[in-house]
Symmetry: C2
Subunit: 223 residues, 2 copies
């Protein structure tokens, strides 16, 4: 049995969970709050970041969400998520990287800092200017997604891929933290509604992070 | 023929160049300064970041250094650089990600900002405090590399892998910018000297970035 070290609002762990869900790989969740820098966790992963996956006997420790996703893509047959030609796979990886770096840095990280870390750790109020900037950035990113979805059924092409899961993972965290407004982005909204209704996504949407409440529409497929 | 859009001190482009060199893939360099945000480049890659690779007819555009490396790993037979079992490959990818994110963020990015961007774009003096912090961070990272190299011939195991190339790419940029002191890190020094003497590395070491001079020892295999 696999163990996945994560916390409910970690977008990188959500990406891994969506992939494992699509592939039907079983795992147990282990709650890890990276900001506590627990010694035993740092010993496993010197970066101190989630997600980390281990086998129950700790014979194999997988670190880094990209390495974990590639590992399960290579070792499972069900639901190819980095598939197609080499050029298709490059497009999937480009978009995963886009969400893991650009969207995360522009939108998710500032929201997590202002609305989660400040609340849980620093006991400080969020900075309204930074929140506004993050929400503005989300709109620019959604313009690009609208453009992609105007040409394609899924973000990277004709089939569901890790790009969609990475995008949904990051968007869901930003949405939980009140940073997403779908107005004016009908294509994104329709695509995201489709993802939300997948069995791989349902368990994530029902989880809550202590003291932080998501907006009313957060877990609704029809929003 | 492939074109590689890059600038001499881009660590992510250096990683790709080392991989292409090891694999014997031919390409032409195209100089791109991302901070100029050239329209034609942004049209190709909306993130505006190097490296980007294109075929001469622009039929295929590869974006993001990880996607590019995986592409050539999948489409060439020579010099496997993400090889071995699925667990070995996960270890290679973990370490590549370590250098592309942790080492880059802690060491390379601050050095590039203080010693390159401020010089070329902002015409401002570097902040000595930030430079000292980056150099201190490099020492902590080298402690971890010493630990790995005490157990392994190469960073990810018994054979040269993309992890070594990613590490060398980032270290070489930090070294060019005067941020690396190998004292007390004999294992790292010996390993890096071995990489510097490889034919894939020599062309990079002879290049210069306008107005910014590297330290005396920078391109010497015996340093």
């Amino acid at each position: 049995m696999w163990h996945l070290f994560q916390f409910p609002l970690c977008p990188f762990s959500r990406k891994v969970r969506l992939l494992l869900g699509e592939k039907g790989v079983g795992y147990e969740l282990v709650r890890e709050s990276p900001w506590q820098r627990r010694d035993e966790f740092i010993d496993m992963n010197p970066t101190g970041q989630t997600p980390v996956m281990t086998q129950a006997d700790r014979d194999l420790i997988l670190i880094d969400s990209s390495a974990i996703c590639e590992y399960f893509e290579e070792t499972t047959d069900k639901a190819q998520l980095i598939g197609g030609t080499a050029a298709n796979r490059a497009e999937v990886r480009r978009l995963v990287s886009w969400f893991d770096h650009q969207f995360y840095g522009d939108v998710v990280a500032p929201l997590m800092h202002e609305r989660m870390k400040k609340r849980l750790v620093d006991r400080a109020a969020p900075d309204a200017r930074i929140l506004r900037e993050a929400m503005k950035n989300a709109h620019s990113h959604f313009d690009y997604l609208d453009y992609l979805l105007d040409h394609r059924t899924w973000l990277a092409g004709a089939t569901l891929s890790l790009a969609d899961l990475a995008a949904a993972a990051h968007i869901s965290v930003a949405d939980y933290l009140g940073g997403i407004d779908f107005k004016g982005h009908e294509l994104v909204k329709r695509w995201y509604a489709g993802l939300k209704s997948r069995p791989s996504f349902r368990p994530l949407l029902s989880e809550r992070m202590e003291v932080i409440k998501p907006p009313e529409h957060y877990d609704k497929v029809d929003f």
